[in-house]
């Protein structure tokens, strides 16, 4: 569900309000900015996990509301927790508004079931991923390909084998694989973006 413009509070984040928000996050502007980014990241995660179509928009709306409250003089001890609470209220609000509005099916915002469209860029994505894998060291490449190989039982066997071969715990292995996966995804997306930019 996207943030309904009609339901969104009519208030834009001004520079003084943003400065007030940063000041509450730390004595130093750089520290405040880093904490702000962390709060925003967590808000985006929250809305993503809850199945929102536009998590970034929801996160920005939440931060707008928090900054407004600060500007109005509300005393907030833990801004991170406060923002998450505001985010959850926003989710409930949107859910209630949608339930109230009975509308004809052809005016509904999203389909009830989302059909997964075939991915036309799959070949190019695979080529980009192959190129990104080629830039890893042989050990890293083996780790990522073995970790995500196979189904269910085979997957468990592969991962147990990796912990023995590498002499690390399951938790450490999981962390390494997750980090490698994230950096590979970023690399592949950059590659795709560069390819799209050079296409006629």
């Amino acid at each position: 569900m996207a943030v309904d413009p009609a339901a969104r509070q009519v208030w834009s984040l001004t520079q003084p309000a943003f400065d007030g928000l940063l000041a509450l996050l730390g004595p130093d502007r750089d520290i405040g900015a880093a904490r702000y980014l962390e709060i925003r990241r967590n808000l985006v995660r929250l809305f993503e996990w809850r199945g929102c179509t536009t998590p970034e928009e929801y996160a920005d709306e939440t931060i707008n509301r928090c900054a407004r409250k600060i500007g109005e003089g509300e005393v907030i001890r833990d801004l991170a927790t406060y923002c998450i609470g505001i985010g959850r209220m926003l989710l409930l609000e949107m859910g209630r508004d949608r339930a109230k509005q009975a509308r004809p099916l052809d005016e509904a915002r999203e389909p009830r079931v989302v059909v997964h469209e075939p991915d036309d860029d799959h070949e190019r994505r695979v080529e980009c991923l192959r190129s990104c894998l080629g830039r890893l060291s042989p050990d890293q490449r083996k780790l990522i390909l073995s970790y995500y190989q196979g189904d269910r039982g085979d997957k468990i066997k592969n991962r147990t084998g990796l912990t023995r071969t590498m002499g690390i715990s399951h938790g450490t292995l999981r962390m390494r694989a997750l980090r490698l996966r994230a950096s590979l995804q970023l690399c592949a997306e950059n590659c795709l973006r560069n390819q799209a930019a050079t296409l006629p």
């Binding site: 967590n42 985006v44 809850r50 998450i84 989302v114 799959h122 994505r125 189904d151 995804q185």
Partner: protein, 304 residues
């Protein structure tokens, strides 16, 4: 405190939207407060996406997944990436032979009658003896092959060195000829610089070939010598700096005869080559348009 596996089940239910509001809040608050817990949740999410891509979810879980994971651009990108990763892991699975390991074979053997057990035991002994003989023959053959391979590499290295020396001599001769010519002819400086790369070079080698570019050079022609097995209809070359930044790529390259073997040539504008170290990746393109790595070649660029 839940165990690891029950944590995973709990996370799966959370990600598919099967928990109550209170339970969801519990998971989220813990994830925001505990980095290890957050990583566990993200790892479960990655496995869930992989299971969806491989068709490993039940119908109801699949429906829940599609409702929650195909609605935002960020999550759709994760699913698309997982699909590409599944392709790559399947490819690597085909290339790696499965290790033999059938522990139940021994148990099955005990179920047979004694005569069959005896026959199976004799057959196993014959196989072991035969296998030992094959191993020793194989070892002897491998050492002969290794010796021949070392000799071949030595000859190739010598050929490479002779080619480079020939190139240097030709350049020197041209320079000398230019000195003896009329002033107007001396203005004709070389527009083309050549470099020949042979297989078997690695980044770890302490000295790599150098491509020297004089100010007049417009084109650098890099010739990559191929091994006989590198028989592809087309080739693709990708040139990168040492830090991985792509400089250029060339597709639809064809091999041509070069001495006793074949080579692929890549022309690079000299203006694209700053001083530094480079990696040239050569890929063979098959008739069904899949690409296979032929080799990685390393060289440095210097300017006069």
């Amino acid at each position: 405190m839940r165990s690891q596996s029950s944590n995973e089940t709990w996370h799966l239910r959370y990600l598919l939207g099967d928990l109550t509001e209170g339970e969801q809040v519990e998971v989220e608050d813990r994830a925001f407060a505990d980095a290890a817990y957050l990583s566990d949740l993200e790892a479960t999410e990655a496995d869930l996406i992989d299971a969806y891509v491989r068709g490993g979810l039940s119908q109801s879980d699949r429906r829940s997944f599609e409702l929650r994971f195909l609605t935002s651009p960020q999550r759709r990108r994760k699913v698309e990436f997982a699909t590409a990763l599944a392709t790559m892991t399947a490819e690597s699975e085909i290339q790696e032979p499965r290790a033999a390991g059938r522990p139940f074979f021994t148990r099955a053997l005990w179920g047979w009658n004694p005569v069959v057990q005896l026959a199976a035991g004799i057959a196993i002994l014959i196989c072991i003896a035969g296998g030992a003989w094959l191993v020793s023959e194989n070892a002897a053959s491998r050492s002969r092959v290794a010796a021949l391979e070392a000799e071949r590499r030595g000859l190739e290295a010598r050929e490479q060195s002779l080619r480079q020396r020939l190139g240097e001599e030709q350049s020197r001769a041209a320079a000398l000829a230019a000195q003896n010519r009329q002033p107007s002819e001396a203005a004709r400086a070389p527009l083309l610089a050549s470099l020949i790369l042979a297989p078997g070079l690695s980044r770890a080698q302490t000295s790599v070939d150098q491509l020297v570019l004089s100010p007049s050079v417009q084109i650098a022609r890099i010739e990559i010598q191929l091994e006989s097995r590198d028989d592809y209809p087309r080739f693709r070359a990708e040139l990168r700096t040492r830090s991985g930044e792509e400089v250029l790529s060339r597709s639809n390259l064809v091999r041509r005869k070069s001495g006793p073997g074949f080579a692929v040539s890549v022309d690079v504008p000299a203006s694209a080559l700053a001083v530094g170290d480079y990696e040239l990746a050569l890929k063979g393109i098959t008739t069904d348009r899949t690409s296979q790595d032929v080799g990685f070649y390393y060289f440095g660029v210097q300017r006069r």
